[in-house]
């Protein structure tokens, strides 16, 4: 009798342990970029393990579909993609060879973060590749706007709640907390950038329309003659002339582009300056999460604009 009882007790403990282990099992979230990873960490807290494939200092258009990524995606419960064809050159084969039914496009564990955010530059009318590497579904660098960050967080909150219903209220709380901190930070950023509304800048690639629009800056031109096409001498000369004419002094560059042409342009313009901003979390060392991404960019940009505009 005692033996039976102890067996039952042991079984009960084992079962409890197992169910506890089940409850404690964290969701494995894999994201295309570190920005999505950061937001997923904000919402998921300690109930999720988050891994990003691309590094923040890497051009997210040109990521190699390394077999080690297949291992990572193979273990994912949720895959969060940037979407808008940003990852068209590398993600489809990774997902296909991941041997993971949960995260195939259309399955419950696949989330396209772009579906309910505000997308700019959706082409209207005929587009051809004579326009360069245009994104037919709109500009995919949409995460560079805090409002979109909030929408991404909402989508992640809903998806995590769907995959792990027991933690729904936890994710909801985490989201509310993130939302609050983001709103407070937005006020700060807006205040810092307010004096420079309407200032014109030049950027290397079309990575910044959401960011610039949010803070009231105007992008006058691009170092690239067309999206994805490296700088050409004639375009560079035209750009220098136009910058001089319009009094544009600041060139914003992503950390994965060569500084040679931007620097050469800046040297031709009195008071011209090249500024390397972080287009993604992890783009530079000091940017560890989504809020720091804007802290870093806003502070750096405001300091540079103060210098070139004298405001």
């Amino acid at each position: 009798m005692r033996i039976t009882r102890s067996i039952i007790a042991a079984a009960a403990i084992a079962l409890l342990g197992a169910s506890e282990a089940l409850a404690q099992k964290k969701l494995n979230v894999v994201t295309s970029t570190e920005d999505l990873a950061s937001i997923a960490r904000e919402v998921g807290g300690d109930r999720v393990n988050v891994t990003a494939l691309a590094r923040g200092y890497q051009d997210p258009h040109f990521v190699e579909s390394k077999p080690s990524f297949i291992l990572t995606v193979n273990r994912a419960d949720l895959y969060i993609a940037v979407g808008r064809e940003l990852e068209i050159g590398w993600l489809p084969p990774l997902l296909t060879s991941s041997r993971n039914a949960k995260i195939q496009p259309g399955a419950a564990g696949y989330l396209d973060a772009s579906l309910n955010v505000r997308i700019l530059e959706i082409p209207t009318g005929q587009i051809t590749r004579a326009m360069g590497d245009v994104h037919p579904l709109g500009n995919p660098h949409y995460w560079l706007e805090p409002g979109n960050g909030r929408l991404i967080a909402q989508a992640i909150r809903n998806k995590l709640g769907e995959l792990s219903p027991a933690d729904r209220s936890y994710f909801g709380q985490r989201y509310d907390d993130f939302d609050g901190r983001l709103a407070a930070a937005e006020k700060r950023w807006d205040a810092t950038m307010a004096p420079y509304k309407g200032t014109k800048v030049v950027t290397y690639h079309r990575s910044w329309p959401n960011f610039m629009e949010r803070f009231g800056l105007e992008v006058m031109g691009y170092v690239e003659p067309k999206p994805g096409i490296p700088p050409s001498p004639s375009h560079t000369l035209e750009l220098i002339d136009e910058m001089k004419r319009q009094g544009v002094k600041l060139i914003v560059v992503e950390p994965y582009f060569s500084l040679r042409t931007p620097q050469a342009i800046a040297n031709q313009i009195p008071g011209g300056r090249v500024l390397v901003l972080a287009p993604s979390v992890g783009g530079v060392k000091d940017v560890g999460d989504y809020l720091q991404l804007f802290d870093y960019n806003v502070n750096l940009l405001a300091a540079a604009l103060k210098q070139v505009t004298g405001k």
Binding site: D59, S65, N74, I88, T96, S98, R99, R118, I122, D133
Partner: protein, 440 residues
């Protein structure tokens, strides 16, 4: 056009037969026609209204997606198309009431068309090829050697399909056409159809993804090259099953493939049971964020053109070392590759044991520029006494992601009688339509 002419007499005969008839019948006919026209008119108006409403709904959706205020909502949304629950399906937990009809809205849409792409491979060569060899097709002065059409799409929640049609000067060939099943249990990835076999590293690569214009000599000499076919490599109809083997941080993949047993001059299946089998083990390791190492071993066997009792077996080993600094990934990269292949071919009285390999280095020194070199050495699979050797130097320029210009100097010493061929080849690759992901 000629077919249309042929139809004329038939049409004329039809009209002739149809036209005569009593006048009374004709008035009745006119009345019937009038009614029909009226009916058609009504239907057209209904359809027009329906389409207008759908268009408005779509515009509203698009507007919402773009974040702009949506135009005024359509006056009345078309009622969703529904169907009754079929009799007999009623049961506890079964659907009740109206069921949605899928596909009705999209029936006329092109949204499910596959991604279509076309790659032109225009190339040419100058310089004497000194007779070449029977394993290698000579490159003409100029040729649109291959135009590759690709059609790729997801079939259903369980499969995707990829078709690659190689359109050459001689005709059209399904280079690959297979379905992939990525959602199978047990971590299996299954492909079925016609495929480039997973033997070694380069065999599975399409011509336009190679770092050279041609393929290494060892692929022509040991993997079924012939002087009639500009392409070489094992490609056949079959089934491929692969799975990951857990090994910590090391990527380890085992692949088993079964083919019909017909591939170029390499395998010939004279009976249904003369199948070809293949096994491959591939490992990959990230040494750092920017450097990685890949190694694989492969084996395949099949029956050769001597008949069902004669086997050809191939053993392969391949090593690739890659370097690409992540923050400068679009400007600099390096890849060193080598592949060794041993062939054992049973002949009527002897066994031909041939060996070949290549070693190559490719370096990207600017955003659009790549330079590379390759050393080739290979005995011929059908006559291992002959050993060919060669060297190539390659320079590649990328105007954009969608086009590529390449020049290659190739020096080959053919083993039969020490002939040396010095050839200069050039290539223009151009892509339109869908541009699939690059193979790694």
């Amino acid at each position: 056009m000629r077919r249309v002419y042929r139809l004329w007499p038939v049409l004329a005969a039809g009209l002739l037969l149809g036209s005569p008839g009593p006048v009374l019948a004709q008035t009745a006919d006119v009345e019937a026609l009038r009614r029909e026209i009226e009916q058609l008119r009504n239907e057209l108006a209904a359809v027009q209204q329906q389409y207008g409403e759908r268009l408005a709904a779509l515009e509203a959706k698009l507007g919402a997606a773009q974040g702009t205020p949506a135009p005024a909502s359509p006056p009345a949304a078309p009622p969703p198309q529904t169907a009754e629950v079929p009799p007999g399906a009623a049961a506890p937990g079964a659907p009740a009431g109206q069921l949605p009809v899928y596909g009705a809205l999209t029936a006329g849409s092109k949204i499910f068309n596959p991604d279509i792409g076309m790659i032109g491979n225009f190339l040419g060569a100058v310089g004497p090829n000194r007779g070449g060899s029977e394993t290698l097709a000579p490159t003409p002065f100029m040729t649109l050697q291959e135009s590759e059409a690709s059609f790729q799409a997801i079939v259903d929640p369980y499969a995707r399909a990829d078709f690659f049609l190689a359109i050459g000067e001689e005709g059209i060939e399904v280079e690959e056409g297979y379905a992939t099943f990525p959602t199978l249990p047990g971590g299996l990835l299954v492909k079925a159809g016609k495929m480039r076999a997973n033997f070694g590293r380069l065999n599975a690569f399409h011509n336009h993804t190679l770092p050279w214009i041609d393929r290494p000599l060892v692929m022509y000499n040991l993997l079924g090259g012939s002087s009639d076919d500009p392409d070489t490599g094992i490609k056949d109809a079959g089934v491929s099953v692969s799975r990951l083997i857990p090994a910590g941080n090391v990527f380890l993949e085992a692949t088993g493939e079964l083919y019909r047993g017909d591939s170029g001059t390499l395998f010939t299946s004279s009976r249904r049971q003369d199948v070809a089998a293949l096994g491959r083990l591939r490992s990959y390791l990230d040494l750092t964020d920017q450097t990685n190492f890949e190694a694989g071993v492969s084996y395949t066997r099949g029956h050769n053109d001597m008949g069902s009792d004669f086997l050809t077996q191939l053993y392969g080993a391949d090593v690739t070392l890659r370097w690409r600094p992540l923050s400068r990934a679009i400007y600099r990269s390096l890849a060193a590759r080598t592949e060794l292949i041993w062939s054992r071919r049973e002949d009527l009285f002897t066994v031909q044991r041939a060996f070949g390999f290549y070693g190559s280095l490719d370096y990207q020194f600017a955003r659009r520029w790549f330079a590379g070199g390759r050393y080739d050495q290979a005995e011929r699979g059908m006559n291992a006494a002959i050993r060919d050797r060669g060297f190539s130097g390659v320079l590649t320029y990328w105007p954009s992601e969608f086009s590529q210009v390449r020049g290659q100097y190739r020096r080959t010493r053919y083993g039969d009688d020490g002939r040396v061929a010095n050839e200069l080849m050039f290539q223009l690759l151009f892509t339109i339509g869908a541009h699939g992901a690059h193979p790694f």
